[in-house]
Symmetry: C2
Subunit: 456 residues, 2 copies
């Protein structure tokens, strides 16, 4: 490992320059006008994999391609690990809230600011560089490696499950390693024991056939914005619980050990509140902030649009209103069941005078790990080496639906080891990733591959 560590130290400036090139490509998978950029990011990544010593291919799907990198010289008897990441990013809007432009990476105060720096280009790229170091300076690896980098994570990975199913043999592995999450705190490396799932909808409410004058028609014609507001207002009760019949039926009551381990983490709710900048925190009664974020389901309005929203006072009675509404799910909820419950709830509460239409945008299952066993042991050793302390077990409120799919299709357990920090602004303006974790993390990953060879 000495040579590998030395190589990483020596090459770190070049690694960062390359990362900046990667981050500068606006691979926004949700926007068709960026399809060319998304493809460019895939080609660029494949080229870096080849330079690292992998064989790499850009494989077509129905939308954005998968970049597949392979190194199989450890031999048939050696274990195989699959590294998963994604090279696409969230839309950068609202642009005016970025301190520096989202696709012009910049280091300020030890942080790399750019869309995708944390989620997930930065962390995916760390694996590529850890592999480069291991293969170039370490003379090879005791494990075979398959890297699967997709370009559709931020739009719900519509083509990844078919891809994994169609390539089941080629992707066969003993463990799946994913770096797309955050450490619990600065200097506190972490392994994830759970992820929440997702069920995302667009709710459309229509009344009149076109926008009307709010004076001439107001008072006698239903207002879809008001009716939508009523439906949204009715989604929670006063204790912060979701008021949809049957919603909690499949929600796991976590064991006391998990809840105690969460409570034992050094978490300062007031610091968290200050960091997000809200006047106070909120959520489901009876649960701590970390429990609300990790092991309890949510229902959030992600977007609202109706009528006139420009400058000044336009006296319009809107013809329609739209809300984006999503649920974060916990074991053992499924997006399919939540969709059924939400749709029948809206059908039941939809007021007279308007038409309500719901579009399902995407969903993903929640996931949980068994935090005891060889994967977690190997990762603990590697993280302790790189960060000077053993990792804590943490939950994650976000969703990586593919984790459960990999486990199901490939029959291998997943290990989620991320290096972003809380407050990284994933999905928000001023996304950032710590420079220090970029360097330490590459070392940790190179060590992890070694440890996994021993553990598996």
């Amino acid at each position: 490992m000495g040579d590998v560590t030395e190589y990483i130290r020596r090459e770190t400036d070049r690694f960062r320059d390359e990362l900046f090139q990667f981050l500068a490509i606006p691979s926004v998978s949700a926007r068709s006008e960026h399809d060319g950029d998304t493809r460019r990011a895939a080609e660029w990544l494949a080229e870096r994999m080849r330079e690292a010593g992998l064989e790499a291919e850009v494989l077509e799907t129905e939308k954005h391609p998968v970049v597949l990198g392979e190194w199989r010289d450890a031999g048939r008897d050696a274990p195989t690990i699959l590294v998963y990441g994604h090279y696409d990013v969230q839309p950068p809007e609202p642009l005016d809230e970025w301190t520096s432009p989202p696709f012009e990476p910049e280091v300020r105060d030890g942080r790399i600011y750019a869309r995708g720096s944390a989620d997930d280009k930065g962390q995916l790229f760390m694996h590529v560089k850890a592999l480069e170091a291991s293969l170039r300076a370490g003379g090879g690896l005791p494990v075979n490696v398959v890297v699967v980098a997709e370009g559709e994570e931020e739009i719900g990975s519509p083509n990844l499950v078919p891809f994994v199913e169609a390539n089941r043999e080629r992707l066969a592995c003993d463990a799946v390693v994913i770096s797309d999450s955050a450490m619990f705190d600065e200097g506190v490396p972490s392994l994830l024991f759970s992820l929440r799932g997702l069920a995302y909808f667009e709710v459309h409410v229509d009344a009149a056939k076109s926008d009307l004058h709010s004076g001439t028609y107001g008072g006698a014609v239903p207002n879809p914005a008001t009716e939508l507001a009523r439906m949204l207002a009715g989604l929670h009760d006063e204790s912060g619980r979701i008021r949809i019949d049957g919603f909690y039926d499949d929600v796991l009551d976590w064991d006391d050990a998990t809840r105690e381990s969460i409570r034992g983490l050094p978490f300062d709710e007031e610091r968290f509140r200050r960091e997000v900048g809200a006047p106070s925190l909120s959520g489901e009664a009876g649960y701590s902030v970390l429990e609300r974020l990790w092991i309890r389901p949510t229902c959030e309005v992600n977007g609202l649009l109706s009528g006139y929203t420009g400058e000044g006072a336009k006296t319009v009675l809107p013809a329609k209103a739209m809300a984006k509404v999503s649920f974060r799910l916990v074991p053992d909820q499924t997006p399919e069941r939540v969709a059924e419950l939400f749709l029948s709830h809206l059908e039941r509460v939809a007021p007279d005078g308007v038409r309500v239409r719901v579009e399902e945008l995407h969903g993903g299952n929640p996931w949980r790990a068994d935090p005891e066993g060889p994967l977690f042991d190997a990762a603990s050793t590697a993280l302790k080496e790189a960060f000077g302390r053993a990792p804590v077990l943490a939950g994650e409120g976000g969703s990586i639906p593919i984790v459960g799919d990999f486990e199901r299709i490939l029959g291998a357990k997943a290990l989620l080891v991320g290096f972003a920090l809380p407050g990284a602004n994933m999905h928000a303006p001023d996304e950032w990733f710590p420079v220090e974790n970029f360097e330490r993390g590459i070392g940790a990953l190179a060590r992890l591959y070694e440890e996994l060879a021993r553990a598996l």
Copy 2:
């Protein structure tokens, strides 16, 4: 009058061509990028007034100018009438809902389609053409005339009251005539007995300092879109009444005669519903549709905006949410009092965890007329002559705040005689004005000036 009528018949094609030029100027007062167009509309209108035989000036205000046209050759002893209208228009959005572009006037099925055709360029221009006919073909008028055309009606006339106050002497008159409303039905000329007032607000709700990832933060951080929805949902009770303490204190209980006269109008609620295209109608329990539109106050959401509203599923927990909320007021409510009540209501119901800020955009008083007297008699005669039947008395749900201001400052009564038709899409896509009413209305107005000389 024979020569005048003949002149109008002969020149009607030219009148319409000129109107189309007027409508083609996008004088959107709310949008600073159209300031040049708004001024161009003013200059254009002044030129047409001069051609009609008036003296015309474009007078500066702090924002958009007032066009003042004058003809005073009837002499000191003759009465003076003030004609008021506005040459600015509402923003045309949403553009994709227009059948033909808003600023490219087009006749289809006997209707002139364009933004401003009904509200109010078309009707203001009819006065200019009626004056042209009277002065050019009729050899003069028995009344002096002052035309006040403003360019800020659609943004709440911020500079008109100061203008009228500063020009009190020059604008001194015996009656104010305004054509900025609709007839009760096709072939049914109307005089307005009431207008609703307006109080328009923007409500801003903020929570976190920036948009957050709805997975990583959702469940513990207040969602401003949800909180805004709750506040909006609470503005009405189940019977459609507004749930703001004291809101109905100043609402006039109209006399039985007025309510009976409204009930006597030939109004088909089912036809109205079909025309607006809503699945069913709604509103305050205990009142008919016309009463809900004319003599009862309302609270409408005019616009909603929060979070991500583009294509696809962005999992954002919004940092802020905005609603445009306006009230239509009836005698004896005032926008000042309603603002007080609304602000203290929001203060009372504003939830923990978010900051609520309210911006007052604009307001105007409601108005009602005494439908007996010389003004209404003169107008009845003129309308009967042009349309073949006596006018009905109608209310109007919209607001023309300046009406009450003219009466107060100039001490003259206002007469509201409009020629648009119900469903004219004022403030909506596909605004239109009937070709037939354009021609008949010009004749009716020329006759009205004559009748007013006799009545006043």
